[in-house]
């Protein structure tokens, strides 16, 4: 009896242990395996669902423009504009699309309002600038141009800086070229003799071995084949040494000696102490000259920076009873004299608004401040600062949707988007949460 009971108890004990073992085994491995598969499936579904949602949006064709959203986003990021105008259709209706607004609406529809965030940084394109500098060659600019002698070295240094900053594969390629164009017509005998013994403002102000390098050139405006409409007084000669508006227009039309490169940032710098065409009372000519500059600069997307040279106003702030000792040398009827008239003085503030008008017609809002020189020693530094300012210009990242929450699980998708800059890309970062 005892033996039978013992066997029975032992049998049940073995059975219990076996059942418990199987339960533990199944819980640990079987259910765990299914669970893992399920969890992995869920995660993948979420990511793929998010990705395919974004992909659907990117591949959607905008009915108005016939372009895919991906293409429109690339254009929007590169041009820094949300509203893109592609012209008119055959019915004369405007082909405008607000690309980032459309994108926002579509993302809201797919992921829900407040449940996503998108970032589109401006592509990090290597800085490549072509700088042209128009120089008023009237006598009062002698000292300013004298200071520009340092410019070839400054341009070399800037090139080195840019090469260090950007991981450029072709290390030998120059990133900044500068060409000085001297307006023609001045007979500035006020200047000290230059390297060639000349007293007028010309390229011989620069050392002979620095006038023509890979990155720096100096030329006369007369070396350009300007359209007739861009020559002052419609003549074949360039006769006005102060017509920097048309001068800039002519340079914009022709380009620097190497020609305009479609991919470059184009910077036009003007150095003058008078209104375009001069301080004389000739508003129509001044306006026309400025308009030429604006039209031609806009046609090639050039940034324009006028540098207002010292007019001598510090010597005569009230603009009355100004004395010739203010030491603005002018050449009149072949003779050099010091002259600072009340009109010259009065035109000082006019010059600032004249130059600001030019900048407003061409530049984005952050670049509408005229560079005013206190004296001629600041010319090269001002030019260098302008180039640096443009190079360091930060284009804000496009950000759409709600801020990313810190306390949620956030899914991320990155998509590469090509831009119209040939060979250029940027990345689209999409964050989504429940």
């Amino acid at each position: 009896m005892m033996k039978g009971q013992t066997l029975e108890m032992l049998g049940f004990l073995i059975l219990s242990v076996a059942v418990i073992g199987i339960i533990i085994f199944m819980r640990t491995y079987l259910a765990g395996s299914y669970g893992k598969t399920l969890s992995s499936l869920t995660e993948r579904q979420e990511t793929e669902g998010m990705r395919s949602g974004l992909n659907t949006i990117l591949q959607t064709t905008d009915p108005k423009t016939g372009r895919k959203m991906e293409e429109l986003i690339g254009i929007g990021v590169y041009t820094e504009k949300s509203e893109l105008d592609f012209g008119r259709d055959s019915n004369g209706d405007q082909l405008k699309v607000n690309v980032f607004k459309d994108l926002e609406e579509r993302l809201d529809a797919i992921y829900g309002k407040g449940k996503w965030h998108l970032e589109l940084p401006y592509p990090d394109l290597p800085f490549y600038a072509q700088v042209v500098i128009v120089v008023d060659t009237s006598a009062s600019l002698c000292d300013d141009v004298e200071n520009m002698k340092r410019l070839p070295d400054i341009i070399n240094n800037l090139n080195e800086m840019i090469k260090q900053k950007y991981p450029i594969k072709d290390k030998d390629k120059d990133r900044i070229t500068a060409t000085v164009y001297m307006l023609s017509g001045g007979n500035a005998g006020c200047c000290e003799p230059d390297y060639d013994g000349q007293t007028y403002l010309g390229c011989s102000r620069f050392e002979a071995n620095k006038r023509e390098t890979n990155v720096f050139r100096c030329r006369s405006i007369n070396s350009l084949d300007c359209p007739r409409s861009l020559r002052p007084s419609d003549s074949l000669h360039w006769t006005n040494e102060e017509d920097w508006g048309r001068g800039l227009a002519c340079i914009a039309d022709n380009g620097p000696p190497e020609g305009w490169n479609g991919a470059s940032t184009k910077i036009g710098i003007i150095l003058s102490d008078e209104l375009s065409t001069g301080n004389e009372n000739q508003p129509e000519a001044q306006e026309a000259s400025l308009e030429s500059a604006i039209n031609y600069a806009n046609s090639i997307d050039m940034f324009v920076f006028p540098i207002k040279a010292d007019t001598g106003i510090a010597c005569c702030p009230s603009c009355s009873g100004c004395r010739s000792e203010c030491n603005i040398c002018v050449s009149y009827n072949g003779e050099q004299t010091s002259l600072f008239t009340e009109r010259t003085c009065a035109m000082d503030s006019e010059l600032i608004s004249h130059m600001e008008g030019l900048m407003a017609g061409v530049n984005p809002p952050e670049f509408r401040q005229v560079y005013e020189l206190e004296d001629s020693t600041e010319v090269t530094t001002a030019i260098s600062d302008i180039i640096k300012d443009v190079a360091e210009r930060e284009v804000p990242t496009v950000k759409l949707g709600a801020p990313i929450p810190q306390d949620r699980k956030v899914n991320t998708v990155t998509v590469t988007v090509p831009i119209p800059f040939i060979g250029g890309y940027t990345n689209l970062y999409l964050y989504q949460w429940q």
Binding site: L30, S33, E70, F86, P167, V417, P418, G423
Partner: protein, 391 residues
């Protein structure tokens, strides 16, 4: 005894049951793993296919941007990869459709390869992929019959294709290979319509001839100083014809006389070359141009020797040739096209000419009033003063 046996059989049966359950559990476990593996395999293929599709879409966008930018550049050049003179010296050299397509596709190819090359550079491009160099791009307009029509609506887009006759190789997550051929449609671009309209219009409407005929009526002489006006009038007429009967209201035509020196055939108005060799596919990539044979006869400054102080009039006649360099600019404001520049641009076709105007049948005549005692003076009809040289 019977009772003891029956009690001991129960656990044995139960044990067998547990063993069976264990075998079943093991089987289920293996099924779970295989499902997991199968799903894993499927999911690792899906992202690969997705990534490959993404790469091709990116390249198609690159192809689109390349074609749009190239259309602006080729049109601005006048139909080829560099400044194209439709009229050169005495010759009319209108670029043929094949010539335009060749240069157009070459430029697209270069740009597209920049996108392909940069996909391997740096860490921007998220997908690890090898994109071979594209060796051939094609440009397909909608056909001359559609594009020659006055109405542009059937010729406002065109197709572009590209191939390297190779494969795009995706490296992660799985290795995947796919043919590299891509294609894209370029919408809202009237490049071909304007080209074909101008090309067709040329037959019987040579701008060179129009200028020559306007300046010089055989048998009639011209007064000195009048030639420029006649040239401007002819170009103006050409522009109005382009605007009113060749193209449409969206196209603005303007012209520039880049260089003209009346009665100075020694200035050939060219510091570049205007001729190009007949189109040959093997050579057209960098068309070899031939220097135009310019006139070299100098017009010496007139020297008059006086015998006495009596004023007199001296008649002069010029029956040689002059060079004229002009450009006609046709700006299509219907569509704005994305380009390397940061703004959307209008398509601008430029027709350039560097031609010789021949006065042999219509000499320029003028009279010089000579006053030997006061050093002499020139007086031209209408008080026109001869222009000084430009440089």
């Amino acid at each position: 005894m019977k009772k003891g046996v029956s009690f001991s059989v129960i656990p044995i049966i139960a044990l067998l049951g547990v063993l069976a359950l264990s075998i079943w559990a093991g089987y289920q476990l293996s099924i779970g793993s295989s499902y997991n593996k199968r799903y894993g395999d499927v999911f690792s293929e899906d992202p690969s296919v997705f990534k490959m599709e993404t790469v091709k879409k990116i390249l198609e966008d690159g192809l689109k941007f390349s074609a749009q930018d190239a259309s602006l550049e080729i049109a601005a050049n006048g139909g080829t990869g560099s400044t194209t003179f439709w009229y050169c010296a005495y010759e009319d050299k209108i670029p043929t459709p094949e010539e335009v397509k060749y240069h157009f596709s070459n430029l697209i190819k270069t740009s597209l390869n920049a996108y392909a090359k940069n996909s391997n550079a740096g860490d921007l491009f998220e997908i690890n992929v090898d994109i071979p160099e594209y060796t051939c791009t094609g440009v397909y307009d909608n056909g001359e019959s559609k594009c020659s029509s006055r109405d542009s609506s059937e010729c406002e887009d065109f197709w572009v294709t590209a191939t390297g006759n190779s494969q795009i190789i995706l490296k992660e997550p799985n290795v995947l290979k796919e043919d590299d051929s891509i294609s894209a449609i370029i919408p809202q671009n009237r490049f071909w319509w304007i080209y074909y309209r101008l090309y067709d219009d040329y037959n019987g409407n040579s701008v060179h001839e129009q200028i020559q005929n306007s300046v010089c009526v055989p048998g009639e002489s011209i007064n000195r100083g009048e030639v420029r006006g006649r040239i401007e009038s002819a170009l103006n007429e050409v522009c109005r014809r382009y605007e009113n009967s060749v193209l449409d209201g969206y196209v603005d035509c303007s012209y520039e006389i880049d260089c003209f020196f009346e009665m100075d055939g020694s200035r050939n108005c060219l510091n570049t070359l205007c001729s190009r060799e007949p189109f040959n596919e093997e050579l057209c990539d960098s068309p070899e141009v031939v220097r135009v044979a310019g006139k070299t006869n100098d017009n010496d400054v007139e020297k008059v020797f006086f015998q006495d102080c009596t004023p007199y009039r001296e008649d002069h006649s010029y029956s040689d040739t002059d060079w004229l360099r002009f450009r006609i600019v046709l700006k299509d404001s219907k569509y704005n096209i994305p380009s390397m520049s940061k703004d959307l641009k209008n398509l601008v076709w430029k027709i350039q000419g560097a031609i010789i105007i021949d006065y042999n049948q219509c000499p320029i005549e003028w009279t010089v009033n000579i006053d030997p005692c006061s050093g002499g003076s020139n007086e031209l009809p209408g008080g026109v003063t001869p222009e000084p040289p430009p440089y």
